[in-house]
């Protein structure tokens, strides 16, 4: 009895998960200006998208912030995970707490905290403050992915290297980092997508005239919903689906 119940709920769950996405993709080909009823197939919204420089500008901003913040967050996340792995001290307990806390902090509080910080140190809101914010929330995710990998690491390799006289730095460069490479790559991908997707935190710390793509979509959505967003959203969904599949492949190829 139970198996069939769980099967039907799962089917419903997956349908629930994909229904809005499919409706959105379908609507992006709908000729109707106001959404709703189907009035014919068209590609004109995609064409119109090409001549909207402000969208491309927002996309460029998003990519810029995502590139820099994901790189910095990856570096900080790797050093954080390594220090948690190597040392067992009170300092590391605090360190772990500091890394876990942002994960249980609702986005809106994170955004407000950063807004208060930037205004109290008189830092003007701009793409730079968005970069600082995105780095801050990405570090914990990267650190946790790498920490998980380190916990399953075969310590005998490291002990063997140490017995053979390898220095810490040599060991790090020749053994630990190569083993961690796939996790580092997936951590970086996660940081990159989190940055590209983030709306709430960005909304609080973004400066005037420097919108990112999610903030731009949100403002389009608030001021009437032109079908342009459907076309843009479809492209974004396709792009993130590809990134997810790549990320998942990397995780799958790792021996566990």
């Amino acid at each position: 009895m139970k198996a069939s119940w769980s099967r039907w709920i799962s089917y419903a769950g997956f349908a629930f998960l994909y229904l809005p996405v499919l409706v959105l993709i379908g609507s992006s080909f709908n000729a109707s200006r106001f959404g709703g009823a189907w009035t014919g197939f068209t590609l004109s919204w995609y064409q119109r998208l090409l001549c909207e420089p402000s969208i491309w500008n927002a996309l460029a901003n998003s990519l810029l912030v995502a590139t820099y913040s994901s790189l910095l967050a990856t570096i900080l996340g790797v050093t954080a995970a390594l220090s948690l792995y190597w040392y067992r001290s009170t300092l590391q307990k605090l360190h772990l707490g500091l890394l876990l806390a942002p994960l249980v902090m609702p986005d809106i509080l994170m955004g407000i905290c950063l807004l208060f910080l930037f205004s109290s140190i008189c830092l003007k809101l701009s793409l730079f403050t968005v970069f600082l914010a995105h780095t801050t929330f990405s570090i914990s995710y990267v650190a946790m992915i790498i920490k998980t990998r380190l916990e399953t690491l075969d310590t005998s390799i490291i002990e063997a290297a140490r017995d053979l006289g390898a220095s810490t730095f040599y060991m790090l460069r020749k053994i630990v980092l190569p083993i961690l490479a796939p996790s580092i790559l997936s951590g970086w991908l996660l940081a990159f997508t989190l940055s590209l997707d983030d709306f709430v935190i960005t909304f609080f710390v973004v400066g005037p005239g420097a919108t990112t793509l999610p903030v731009y979509i949100y403002s389009m959505m608030k001021f009437g919903a032109p079908p342009l967003i459907n076309a843009l959203s479809t492209l974004i969904l396709l792009f993130t689906a590809v990134i997810t599949v790549v990320y998942y492949r990397i995780l799958q190829e790792e021996p566990s």
Binding site: W5, T79, L98
Partner: protein, 285 residues
């Protein structure tokens, strides 16, 4: 050995960054809750409990209550979907399991704002759901599906239940299903073994999964803003309004302190529970 030096060198970057960009700002926000602002929004010198006292007025209590019930119903609804789904996923063949996990992850990784927007189309007055409901006689043509509490709940469950599926699935895939068969060999029905053998073993994962839904739900801002009506405002919306419209930072800080408590109290309880004797006993089995 220069171990302490090495340790501080490798710990400093992330520790320093998070102290400056996370811990210090959080302290600033909580400190502001003990301040008072005049009518123009300027912060008055000295300390005061006035901002915190506003949390006890009728409006704020109603707001807190609404945030609590909306996020608790979201959590319950999310778990009702996630528990059977993770069970179903964990009982598939390995290659199908991988495929299903990917199907859960794709929407989670795709743009949050885009998926919220998709719901505006789905629940649109001329959209397919409305047409289906009207043809089935389940809805009158002029009652809107959007801009009410039900829309907020549906979209919140939709957005956050995958966060519960993943930890539940990872626990379910480690579950020893031979226990299940043993229970059935001993004469238990499939339903009974699900409830007496499987579910109790999942309790730690269910608590974690519930927290993964509760945290974003309690802190929801975009969803009530986009699909909610004027009556479905949650703590997050009021905080944003106090900051951007009224410019009353102390009251916004007091509300932020409240929201932090709503999220951190269950998080700490569950963390303590996980490190408590019953959880350890399970690990050493």
């Amino acid at each position: 050995m220069k171990k302490p030096l090495q340790q501080s060198l490798i710990t400093l970057p992330s520790f320093g960054w998070l102290t400056f960009f996370f811990l210090v700002p959080a302290c600033i926000v909580y400190m502001f809750a003990f301040k008072r602002a005049d009518i123009t929004g300027a912060i008055l010198p000295g300390w005061s409990l006035d901002s915190l006292k506003t949390l006890l007025d009728k409006q704020s209590l109603a707001l807190t209550w609404r945030t609590l019930w909306l996020s608790l119903v979201t959590t319950a609804g999310g778990l009702c979907l996630a528990i059977p789904m993770s069970y179903y996923m964990a009982t598939r063949t390995p290659s199908n399991q991988r495929r299903l996990v990917l199907f859960v992850m794709i929407p989670l990784w795709s743009s949050f704002i885009v998926r919220i927007f998709a719901w505006k189309i789905v629940l649109h007055p001329e959209g397919i759901v409305k047409m289906l409901l009207v043809t089935c006689g389940l809805s009158k043509p002029n009652t809107p599906l959007l801009y009410n509490d039900l829309a907020v709940l549906i979209v919140m469950i939709y957005s956050y239940f995958p966060f519960a599926v993943l930890p539940l699935y990872s626990a379910a895939s480690k579950f020893d299903f031979s226990l299940f068969e043993a229970a059935m060999d001993l004469g238990a029905t499939k339903r009974r073994s699900f409830f007496t053998v499987y579910l109790p073993a999942m309790i730690p994962a269910i608590l974690t999964a519930g927290l993964m839904v509760l945290i974003p739900a309690a802190g929801a801002y975009v969803i009530p803003e986009v699909v909610g009506g004027s009556g479905s405002e949650m703590l997050g919306n009021t905080i944003a309004r106090r900051i951007f419209l009224d410019r009353n930072l102390p009251v916004a800080s007091a509300l932020s302190l409240l929201l932090s408590l709503v999220v951190f109290i269950p998080a700490v309880i569950i963390a303590l529970w996980h490190s408590g004797p019953q959880a350890r006993g399970g690990e050493n089995r």
